[in-house]
Amino acid sequence: MEPARKTEQTPWEPRIVAFLCRWCSYAGADLAGVSRLSYPPTTRVILVPCSSRVNPYHILKALMEGADGVLVSGCHPGDCHYLTGNLLARRRFILLKRLLAYMGVEAARVKFSWISASEGEAFAGLIREITEEVRAVGPFQGFLRETGEDVYDR
């Protein structure tokens, strides 16, 4: 993905990579589209079999390669197609989110959510919300860049 850069011609728009589980959230996104709901065109959807398929590698790599925000969405607890995938993912994601915040990454950059196949409206609302949150924190500059000086030029 080309890095999003603010130019005079095109103002910066958030780029959000959305990992959607194929059984619930992807269908929810589909419903939002079929229902002709409008939401900001800021997301790039990646279809995954289950929210527990999403590894911390994927989330970090998306940010490293130019995304400004990442959304991971799966089935509500109890609705997982694989019964317990989302519950295992939930444990992983809370540690991930806390460690990211601890190391100084803005909390708004990574978001987790449960969206079912019938929640097209909720999906559109979620994208509107995350787009505004990411817009508020601005473009992602890369990890370990926020120093007083450029320690890498020493």
């Binding site: 911390p56 590698y57 970090l60 790599k61 490293m64 607890p77 109890g78 317990t84 519950l87 295992l88 939930r90 444990r91 992983r92 994601f93 809370i94 540690l95 991930l96 989110k97 806390r98 460690l99 990211l100 915040a101 601890y102 190391m103 100084g104 990454v105 803005e106 978001k111 987790f112 959510s113 449960w114 890369g142 990890f143 370990l144 860049r145 926020e146 120093t147 007083g148 320690v151 890498y152």
Partner: protein
Amino acid sequence: MTGSAALAETLRKVFKDEKLDGLIGYAAGTTPLRPRPAVFTAPGDFDAAVFDGFCVQNLATYLRRHPDRRMGILVKGCDRRAVTVLIQERQVAREDLFLIGVPCPGMLNRARLLTEFPGLETGGVAEEGDTLTVAAADGPVSLARADYLLPACRACRHRVPTDVDLMLDAPPFAAPEADTSLGELTGGIDGMERRERAALFAEELSRCILCYACRNVCPFCYCETCFTDTLQPAWMTPAPEPNDIFFYHFNRMMHMSGRCVACGSCAWACPEQIPLHLLFGKITADVAELFAFEAGLDETTPQPMSHFSEDDPDEHIG
């Protein structure tokens, strides 16, 4: 106890009596204040055995390298807990091991001593009770042992190994038990502004050269192919670029969650003295807080990351 004849004799006796194929312990190293791990395989080897306040490295790391052998291993509290985790993960079998426990006196901060007393050699720090006598350039200096403990050791609550086959006498030197916790060690950072936290880690991790000493020394980094080494997909570029450094440390910590016994070997091994206890301390404290789990205490409690509860916290979902 450094290089004491009594230690050599005890280990030699165990080696013979238990008909061990090898015994993993510590021997004098070649750099100041850094004993090296040693695998003793013959009765004559044991004269080199040492145990002092610089035997930081977790010896459980070496167990997987000797499959199908009956191995003895010298264990402090953290080594013992690492062995438990390895047994849980079916990397070693308890019946192949002979565990020789040693009540840990709390390990010393080699880097700090060498900075404050340049030119210090092995043997330059005499340990007695709760004091250290350092052979400084301008005469001996007395220090409180508790002030020179490694961060992980200051927070350690499990110094004495449990369920061992033979327990050695406590060494004649020790610091008082924990005066802090992993949560306290990292709590200061939690309280900072986000920008301060980001700047702190950017500064500390800027020294990382991706040498992977922290990975290689870790008892739980035993994957045949590490994510750092795969080319298909290439998660990382091999150059120490900030994104890659972050990716490496962050993901290593994710892999440590629910497994790390906070032995501090990674921080000890780091040639750049990056305070890695801030990372493993955070993940360990979070696992304890969220899932009420401490690694390596009990073989039968399932590891939290291979497990879930319907009542797990969901403050992060929304």
